[in-house]
Symmetry: C2
Subunit: 500 residues, 2 copies
Amino acid sequence: MTKDAAARAWQELSALLRERALLESLTSVLSWDEETTMPAAGAAHRAEQQALLAGLIHERDAAPRVADLIDALDGDASDERQAATLRVVRKRLARAIAVPRRLTEELARATIFAQEAWRAAREGGDFALFAPALETVVGLKREEAAAADPGRTAWEVALDEHEPGLSESALAALLGPLEAELGRLVSDGIGRARPEAAGLLARPVDEAVQAAFALEVARAIGFDESRGRLDCAAAHPSTIAIGPRDVRMTIRAEPGDNTAALFCTLHEMGHWLYDVQLPADLWGDPAGEAMSAGLHESQGRLFEAIVGRSRPFWIWCLPRLRRAYGGFGDVSLEGMLAALRRVELGPVRVGADEVSYNLHVAVRCRLEVALLSGALPVADLPAAWNAAYERSLGLRPADDLQGCLQDGHWAAGLFGYFASYALGNLAAAQLYEAALAAEPDLEAAIERGDFGPLRAWLGVHVHAHGSTRGLFERLRAAAGADLSVGPLVRSLEARYGAGG
Amino acid sequence: MTKDAAARAWQELSALLRERALLESLTSVLSWDEETTMPAAGAAHRAEQQALLAGLIHERDAAPRVADLIDALDGDASDERQAATLRVVRKRLARAIAVPRRLTEELARATIFAQEAWRAAREGGDFALFAPALETVVGLKREEAAAADPGRTAWEVALDEHEPGLSESALAALLGPLEAELGRLVSDGIGRARPEAAGLLARPVDEAVQAAFALEVARAIGFDESRGRLDCAAAHPSTIAIGPRDVRMTIRAEPGDNTAALFCTLHEMGHWLYDVQLPADLWGDPAGEAMSAGLHESQGRLFEAIVGRSRPFWIWCLPRLRRAYGGFGDVSLEGMLAALRRVELGPVRVGADEVSYNLHVAVRCRLEVALLSGALPVADLPAAWNAAYERSLGLRPADDLQGCLQDGHWAAGLFGYFASYALGNLAAAQLYEAALAAEPDLEAAIERGDFGPLRAWLGVHVHAHGSTRGLFERLRAAAGADLSVGPLVRSLEARYGAGG
């Protein structure tokens, strides 16, 4: 191929990728609408809209023209960006050829109905209202995985959607030691003896006041309202990127926890910064989009868990919280940190302390493997869930709302996603260590409410790269070491341990 | 063609139409999002999303397979529904062949940017911020019309998008006499001498209280929250149908007008009922969708202007308003009706009294004709607008906010749409007369807050028919007479005249 012909082929491929990404971004608008706005009776029509988009995306992934282009460009990639493009497009093509369009459309429909059923089951407190729809989704995910790659387990195939290239064994090599370390910390009683903290976070603060304060903090971290939204709604907190300059967050305030809105916001701001700091000029190109869910979650957890429970952050934040909330004049920095660093095992993942959080993740991973392998029938999920909690955390949920109905991920077809939270926690600790080593004044800046150095470091070492590399390679490049359990354990010991 | 082959062809055509309608409904989700949620910086990406959808719809309209199917089915239509399908599909095909996809996509983009520019111009009170974007839209609309039908004026082609089949001359034959009659009523001073009304509608009522009362009235009329939304937002009031069971309204409360939210709601409820009473099983088929913008507007105006300013409605509504607002105990039924039936010429169309409303429409129609013919350069619009108001209503807007920046229609590419408001006013009066003649107890029911008979009559005579017929034919079928000026003038004289 001549140089000109190659340039034309790259250009054509880029335009096709852009169109595909636009279709994806339409599904994001629909998801945002479902989370925030859509009336219940709209679900049936929404299922058809999502199925059509899924079908149109499938059609583009499987297009013979795409196959011709990547054949022609084979070996022509001259940089990381082009190499990533060929890798991603090849993978999508293979998958789209293997998984029939009909199945993709059915899954899009089934997950809309399953999410409705999950909401109804939560309202009615009755798992039976959710079970048939979940069964449909599990069946379709099994069928999809068998079509996509019959040589791998269904769970590993699902995992690959969120963490490209990650094998079950590579994940187990991290989660196994992590669970063991966390078990040790828990039995050592880390973060337990903090009686002075009781009640502080439960002091009533009006939800609107919480939301306004969360917005103030978001702005300090870098939130720019012209490029996004921060809505305090009843829904599950989330960040949805509609386009490169339109990234929206929902957060939740809770009457019984006066820092709930703040911590949601810190988490979603991590995601927000990642999405708005992706290279906008490469939008639609793999080099312009986030690939690894674990890396995305690492950004949320870095702000929520690590920065948000650090001394420098609270040196800056506490006087502002006192001003915003009123009546917190008696709360000392030490008291606040103690309250936020309490370890208390409970049945709910969201809002769990940092030490036990990954134990929840491990439970879900094991249950997912069993569901997708067929070993665990959906009907037996509630009992299996409760038994797994008994074993891992030594407690039984009071009911299914506190148990297997707490998360909507499976209803949405998100199997393999929970692992990304654990990977995100590990990566967050490791990235923060690396950032501190590279920028010794980073925490001094945070004490002054200046998040610029942290934002810049993450921008350069994480955000700017899109998905040119996977999570493991990116970590190696950014932190100079393989992803490992050490940094998170060190961070937990330093902050939750005696004298933390 | 055998019977079986024909049945298969109809089925295939139906499936293609459904897919096209799903794409259209995606543009509706985007429009809803733009009206209610999208941050300013999201416009550039939104323009790309809308352009993609416009292109995909164009591709379906021009598909050779569609041409083959309608050729094969020519003469095979066995009922009104199938005849309408062939008529509509044939028209779309011809238009898509004539108007290049590129132009359709450019218009989709340009209207998003023009709407942003219009908003900026309103904020800055500066027409110059809007003029370049409007010029682009006008140029593209002219180009589009010339491609679509070089034998007709650009304005008539634009008109046809909203009122299929309507010619400029047929419209003039209605608007000319209407303007003359309204001019006569205005110079007779109809509805002027109502001093007792002054101040009543300006009594301060909290916007949230107004919105809550509007919702109460909407529910009485038939609003069902599981199938839609009623959001009180700062945006322009509108009704957007996302799907057959998901129809959403935005309304606006105004501090200086305590019935603003109520009247928006009455208007949007007319649209809402139309959309939810369309035959849902025919969704995607022309027989299942509204076609004439005039007929749609007639439903809004019927509830807002005619029912909403009628004695029976206020016999039911006033005690409820007193309860909801508090402090209106001194307001009599006669006082309220007098306040609502005041004629007072002003520069703004929205909220204009019923008598002068159509004078505003006539001004816009004349300006549109001049803009699209090229006779009026965009730069001269503000001066032309003010001169036209001077001539028709005898007043000059204080500034462009009260003048040519007041409506966003042209920014959205909606030329020819204003005529639909006038047609809607005429049709509303005529339909209400017909409904009263057919259902003599209809107003007695409204006095009791029972809107069932009106809803049912409109359902049977208007909503159930989708777009099997155009506005004029539908009116003839529903009201037993050609659309004419008489019923509206009679209605205005009865309600706004002495003793009304």
